[in-house]
């Protein structure tokens, strides 16, 4: 057991999977000698060589499209998109190809690919190095969408993603890369893709979050507890397909739901969670289903007062939870 950072957990997962299965390879911009701009692949090029850790041309469409081709052949590519903000050129390959391949060929062809992308703001990246893109993909049957909130899950989920026979989008909260630390066991383990996790039980309201926002939600719950409000925190982890059961059970216990994400509000991922609760959890509700999310602007603006204004943080969660608890 050792305490490591989120990014180190991710690096370890790739290292171990490269060692385990020779069909696994890494492809992306600057993943080779540079070790990735966030250093998530550092040392892997030296250890596994240029055939297993491939510096791609600067072209995301082909990173994914070529990855899909290799996956069709039986390889297990792990594609890195340098920032989630740059994934759009690959949308056609992800949504029309990877996601639909199994269904459209009635299971004849499958695409076991992992697409990793750092997401989220709070790091001074402005409109184009801060985006959260889960809402674009959590609407696409055939994909799995995973967002870890801590090193243990990050490592276990990424290893599971590499072994998953389906295309998996793996979004990593880049602000947490070095900020979030946690214990990771020495031996081999995976964390199943699918189940959400009640990371802190409570009775007064449920807070649903993931990634960086889950980190803040736990901090908020701590603060709320000191005020006598017991918030249950649920880490969604696998956003798609989502674990509706855990969500609804939590609402049954607490009667109140606060869905938190950093992406902008309207049409964001939280809408689906709120809609699910408003339908299947309706009779358990003691209050409106609340969402706390980024404002409806085109991105996280650069100047730091703007950024602080945009970002959801522990303080804002406390405030929203406090109001909801008092409803």
């Amino acid at each position: 057991m050792a305490e490591i950072t989120l990014v180190e957990a991710i690096r370890q997962a790739m290292d171990e999977e490269l060692a385990r299965d020779e069909n696994v390879f890494i492809v992306g911009e600057d993943v080779g000698v540079r070790g990735g701009v966030f250093r998530a692949t550092v040392g892997l090029y030296e250890k596994y060589g240029p055939a297993r850790v491939i510096d791609s041309p600067l072209a995301e469409l082909s990173i994914v499209g070529v990855g899909i081709g290799a996956a069709l052949y039986g390889m297990r590519p792990v594609c890195e998109i340098q920032f989630a903000d740059f994934i759009y050129p690959a949308m056609n390959q992800i949504v029309n190809e990877a996601a639909k391949m199994c269904y459209r060929s009635n299971g004849e062809w499958t695409v076991p690919i992992v697409i990793r992308a750092p997401y989220g703001g709070g790091i001074g990246g402005g409109l184009y190095h801060s985006q959260s893109l889960e809402a674009f993909f959590t609407h696409v049957p055939g994909l799995k969408v995973v967002i870890p909130s801590n090193p243990y899950d990050a490592k276990g989920l990424l290893k599971a993603a590499v072994r998953d026979p389906n295309p998996v989008l793996f979004f990593e909260p880049k602000k947490g890369y070095r900020l979030i630390r946690g214990d990771v066991p020495d031996g081999e383990y995976t964390t199943p893709i699918g189940p959400a996790k009640v990371s802190r039980p409570g009775r007064d309201l449920s807070i649903f979050a993931y990634g960086m926002m889950h980190y803040y939600a736990l901090q908020a719950a701590e603060k709320l507890a000191s005020e006598g409000i017991e918030a249950e925190v649920v880490d969604l982890r696998t956003l798609y397909p989502v674990d509706r059961k855990t969500i609804l059970e939590s609402v049954k216990r607490t009667g109140k739901a606060l869905v938190v994400h950093e992406d902008n509000l309207t049409g964001g991922y939280g809408a689906e969670i709120a809609a699910t609760i408003a339908d299947e959890g309706f009779t358990d509700l003691d209050a409106p289903v609340r969402r706390l999310a980024g404002p409806d602007v085109p991105g996280v603006p650069f100047s730091h007062p703007f950024q602080d204004w945009f970002m959801v943080d522990a303080e804002k969660i406390v405030e929203a939870a406090r109001k909801l608890a008092a409803y």
Binding site: P57, G65, L72, G107, E108
Partner: protein
């Protein structure tokens, strides 16, 4: 090049003929209201059959496009498979009735499932080529496309990958002079699609796409070159789309009947037949036999498919994920 045996040459002709008659039947079925949609490969047979025979069929890989009926027949796809697909029947082999007709998939022949958005199959070919290279195997990938679709950035990125990594991929462009209604001068500023190769750093050549043996010769060379590690090639097969774009199209709005009639003189089937007859390899009688064999096979396929069941709706919910696949 490897000299083709008489039997092989006749076989090539037979596949062209079978594809043509099957394609014509699809048009007939459409006129009769027995199917809803057909997209045709008439005029493309030489390019496709010549290419297919340049492959180690069943061993090499293919990421095709929708006009490749003749190619598919060479690779083991059957007329029955095709008519099942036209009719969206349950037994349909590429997708169990999920995809439109002519959206091929044939795992046993390493033909990858493709979609309708043009050019998406091209990066897959590069990726398969990369995998072959990483595994140090001596296989080749053929990927096909229309000339219009080479305008997609997707195509450029894929060819670029193959050129950089010297991947064993052959990019065959079937230039039939139209992308629905749009002519090549509105797609590109180069005179020939083959010219695109020089900007990407790979070998590029144009070939008469109406002559099956000419196509075979060039394709055989570049396929074997790729197999030996010589890297990718871009081959433009110059031909003409004799039919409307698809059964939904009315080509009279954008081209004259005279133009079409003029090009019918360059019918790849007639050209192949003339060559074989001139070489003394084919008699009219043999052609007649082939014609009736084709008719028989196609009739059987139509009756079979028409009698076959539609899928039951519950099946439509699967397999979204591999875990739900019945046959994977």
């Amino acid at each position: 090049m490897v000299e083709l045996s008489a039997a092989t040459k006749k076989d090539m002709f037979w596949n062209m003929l079978l594809a043509r008659r099957l394609d014509e039947r699809a048009w007939a079925l459409h006129r009769q209201g027995r199917i809803a949609f057909h997209i045709s490969g008439i005029g493309h047979e030489a390019a496709q059959v010549g290419s297919a025979y340049a492959l180690q069929r069943g061993r090499d890989w293919v990421t095709p496009y929708y006009r490749d009926l003749a190619l598919m027949l060479c690779l083991g796809y059957t007329p029955r498979d095709f008519v099942l697909s036209l009719m969206g029947k349950r037994e349909e082999t590429t997708s169990g009735g999920r995809q439109m007709p002519s959206h091929w998939s044939l795992r046993k022949a390493n033909v990858v499932s493709h979609s309708a958005p043009v050019a998406t199959q091209t990066p897959h070919a590069a990726g398969i080529g990369l995998a072959i290279k990483l595994k140090k195997e001596d296989k080749v990938v053929l990927t096909t496309i229309g000339e219009g679709a080479t305008s997609q950035g997707e195509w450029y990125e894929a060819v670029n990958w193959a050129a950089i990594h010297k991947l064993p991929v052959v990019f065959l462009v079937q230039n039939n002079k139209y992308a629905i209604s749009v002519t090549p001068d509105k797609q590109m500023a180069v005179k020939s699609v083959a010219d695109k190769a020089c900007g990407l750093g790979l070998d590029g050549r144009a070939v008469d796409g109406t002559n099956v043996f000419a196509v075979y010769e060039v394709m055989h060379e570049v396929v074997e070159n790729a197999r030996r590690g010589g890297g990718p090639s871009l081959i433009e097969a110059v031909l003409y789309r004799i039919t409307p774009h698809s059964s939904d199209d009315d080509d009279r709005s954008y081209r004259s009947r005279e133009e079409v009639e003029e090009h019918k003189k360059q019918d790849p089937l007639l050209i192949a037949r003339a060559i074989l007859e001139q070489e003394g390899l084919l008699t009219s009688k043999e052609v007649e036999e082939m014609e009736s064999r084709a008719k028989e096979i196609i009739n059987e396929a139509v009756s079979y498919a028409e009698a076959a069941d539609y899928p039951s709706v519950e099946e439509g919910a699967y397999p979204v994920y591999v875990e739900e696949a019945r046959r994977g």
